[in-house]
Symmetry: C2
Subunit: 361 residues, 2 copies
Amino acid sequence: MAEYTEIPYPRLWDFCSRLFPSYGFSAEEGKTIAEILLRADLFGIESHGIHRLVRYDEEIKTGMVTVRAKPEIIHETPVSAVVDGHKAMGQLTAVRAMELAIEKASHSGIGMVTVRNSNHYGIAGYYTGLALEADFIGITMTNTEAICVPTNGKRAMLGTNPIAFAMPADPLPFSFDASTTMVTRGTMEVYQKSGKPIPDNWAVDTIGHPTTDAGEVVRNIIGKFGGGIAPLGGSSETGGGHKGYGLATMVDICCGILSGGLTSNHINIKPGETGICHYFAAIDYGIFGNKKEQKHALSVFLEELRSSPRVDGKDRIYTHGEKAMETMAARINGVIPVNEKTLGEMRNIASRQGVVCDIAP
Amino acid sequence: MAEYTEIPYPRLWDFCSRLFPSYGFSAEEGKTIAEILLRADLFGIESHGIHRLVRYDEEIKTGMVTVRAKPEIIHETPVSAVVDGHKAMGQLTAVRAMELAIEKASHSGIGMVTVRNSNHYGIAGYYTGLALEADFIGITMTNTEAICVPTNGKRAMLGTNPIAFAMPADPLPFSFDASTTMVTRGTMEVYQKSGKPIPDNWAVDTIGHPTTDAGEVVRNIIGKFGGGIAPLGGSSETGGGHKGYGLATMVDICCGILSGGLTSNHINIKPGETGICHYFAAIDYGIFGNKKEQKHALSVFLEELRSSPRVDGKDRIYTHGEKAMETMAARINGVIPVNEKTLGEMRNIASRQGVVCDIAP
């Protein structure tokens, strides 16, 4: 079992915002990266938080991420833009792209921005949150390294390709953020560490047959030996796997095709760059009438879902975003549980970068 | 086993286009309804084709559908509109709404149209096909009567809530069209007729526990006794059911909330109207750069998916829309298999409406 140390959130934030400038990022950029990275931990999504620092560190050190690159708008209309990330840190490019979508929505009602030549952008729900702050609907998608096997296939061709969609409501917005695969690689790694078998519709082996061995799946993904994770719905049509496969393809169209960039099956293939692509949209829902009435109608609908009859033994019916926002409310003035292994990685990185790592007792 | 009679497509089309004017629709309207209804049969999607005639007939006869109603634009911007269907036939309102989205996309690059007070609109993929004809990306969603149970719940609160997304490519477009539930009521009815058990993650009973009895599920849905079909991913979070639940909620936001209409849980509740709502979008993908290059890139990507390594024993990896378009190519100059029960219903309706039914030998 993994051991966890509880670290006060402000200490973690302080450490990250000091660490990133040590690579050459500005103080402002360091704060932005720290905020997005740690938002995942605040939301309780360990796989996308400080746990991932070691991978960002490696991408910066190996030049997959170019520290001084600035994203550039290469095509623009009143409702759209295409941004070339020039291999800048995904989080910095993504914030700029969503801000651009919001600017366009402020003037035109809708703004859609696609991004090519970017990098892993962290937690998708952070960017839809920027649209919520502007009282807009926010949408984002990203492709990733191929990890998902199409229906009837045995080679990973699509990424985890998440879709995030959020709209303001009271007391909490609707904020959906989910991969279009059964699970992510992070979950597979958790099962691998625990030695427990995975359910038999989560992944397929190198010949495309269902496997319950998480370690085998992770090794096959890393080694690109074949097989991978099943699309949402599973590896057969019986469970609706062709639907997850279709949604993942749609995400690759919005990200890779509409940005003139790469699709998942070409991500992380060329040395020295990932080629990850994103999609962002902001919609001023006032283009459909009275915003106050729409927001109220959504608030009522979400409450109807939450208060509908529950299965015996289940405490609650959640609407999307509730769990994350409740976890954040508890953690922002409290502590974040950090895996001992992650803590070791943080200390090593800090030592090499010459940054004080006074995060734990 | 159901018996099928093969009927030449032109005869079916001729019959439908003569039948609908007998209710009071214009000749032009009759042709539009016939074309959309039978497109499902051409695509090989029996559940949404002529099989459904008996339900449309009933909705017209009982006044759920108002024959002489005309959809009305009640709010409009250069990129958006809200349409009140005034209970007109769903297909007629939907064609008008997608045409409006296409008009707006022609001028503004993007057009989004939401519709309230409509009716069942048939096959979603027909409307994204209209956008394809304009060389645009097409998107549509619709809510339906509640049939889908939220994660941890035991009452159906969401519809089958399909999402359709299409973009032009060669030799065939990408055309995704799928419910956000494990299956539709139609599939459940097919299992009921056959007496075969359904897989145990497709549906839950009145207390929210998995059931394999399709007949029980259908009776519970019709009687509104509780339970229903699971969201895509199944009834638990292990299979990703919370993702399907989130996608279904997103569809209800785009349709019911953004049109100022009803959400799925209020559809078919008030006597004399369904209250079904839709969402349509058209995007001129030229707002993201060179259309020829993007279309080519998508064509290459789809071919890469189709030609990726297959599981032994599987003939093909499909991309979305291929099956439907190949079936249509074979059937449009050929025959449509029509269930004997459906044939009987057609003859009864024709006789009552005073329309000649010379469709079968």
